[in-house]
Symmetry: C2
Subunit: 250 residues, 2 copies
Amino acid sequence: MPELRLIGLIGIPEIRTGDDLAALIVEAAANLQLTFQPHDILVVTQKVVSKMEGRVVALGDIVPSPASLTWGAHLDKDPRLVELILGEAKRIVRMDRGLLLTETRHGFICANAGVDRSNLPDDKSASMLPLDPDGSADAIRNRIRVLCGTDVAILISDTFGRPWREGLTNVAIGVSGLIPLQDYRETADDFDRLLKATRTAIADELAGAAELVMGKTERIPVVLIRGYSCSRGVGRASMLVRPSERDLFR
Amino acid sequence: MPELRLIGLIGIPEIRTGDDLAALIVEAAANLQLTFQPHDILVVTQKVVSKMEGRVVALGDIVPSPASLTWGAHLDKDPRLVELILGEAKRIVRMDRGLLLTETRHGFICANAGVDRSNLPDDKSASMLPLDPDGSADAIRNRIRVLCGTDVAILISDTFGRPWREGLTNVAIGVSGLIPLQDYRETADDFDRLLKATRTAIADELAGAAELVMGKTERIPVVLIRGYSCSRGVGRASMLVRPSERDLFR
């Protein structure tokens, strides 16, 4: 019977700048008696990638501009955080009711340009998204291949909101080694008719599924997904971003 | 180690109006030597629920109004489908570039008010969403409890688009026996600070995860999820719908 397994890689320590995250993942898997297989997918939460890459800043080092002071008061946010968010944002999509919805340098539409204060070891810092999450995914994948000889696919996940639905879900912001969209447009349905206009964002579904195992405290920053057969190849997270000319809500 | 398993219930036959879907699910599970357990979750695709409930119409029986004829030409859609969609919609959110984005009677914002022509046995019909997907989920859950003595949670899933991201994902449109949002707002993070404003739409992540096993042809209309511990209780799909007064994009 078709079965998908999602296994939380417990035992990965708190990550610091410059750590060899891939080696820690390989070690955690080995401690769980898991050997990576060619169709395995690893979902890695953004926060540990940002920590490894030094994308954490001390709020005390930030001097807010007059605009950040004004907007901070208006949005009920620390003006130093607002300053950081504006620096990470390519544009503001909505600024209302305490929400600062932005387009990031990567093209993602998300709250606060991915700037976040949770799960950091001190109360006085904030993390930013990796500068190039696809590149981060490539680096982890290549390093695991060197260490184990196995080419696993990597997704970097983050937690985004949705406009019409309550609650956040995890989506993929970095991709390496799989095509993030499954194209059913040339596939026949059960009754031999072509399925029109159907592409599934499997990378987002995989990232969301992994969140169910990670939970929110991130003591499980990496989840192994086994049993999912998808198109391998050069996938990029930008494939999941709707171009602004086709976007009716930006 | 924490592990989630998703198992596709193969062997469920083509569903017709009035079929005892719950009994067919129980039979399929038994044929796979699976015994339902109290924390199991079953994700059931909307299409088989709609078929069971007779929510399928012959397009030949629909007489399009003048508005549907005009809009059908404008949107390059069969005017009889447009007529059906308008009947299912509470309002139109956007009508542009071939897209008819609607609010359904249930409050869901989705394309075509959930009206869909895929995976139907003839080329001349269309399916609509269940009138009360939570009620449908309740009925399946109650019937399984009668048949097996086990209280499993049920999610009814459908495939929705997102405004800023490419590709569709499965979400929950019907809920019975679990709370669809996991509230982390009173939880401490790894460093004992309260996680603010974080609620995860676990029902949508569960539905999306199940899609990875279902694929799109729907020969696997039901997926068993085992190993996920969530809050049981009276959950409703409406908890996942953002009220229009808090919605910046409707």
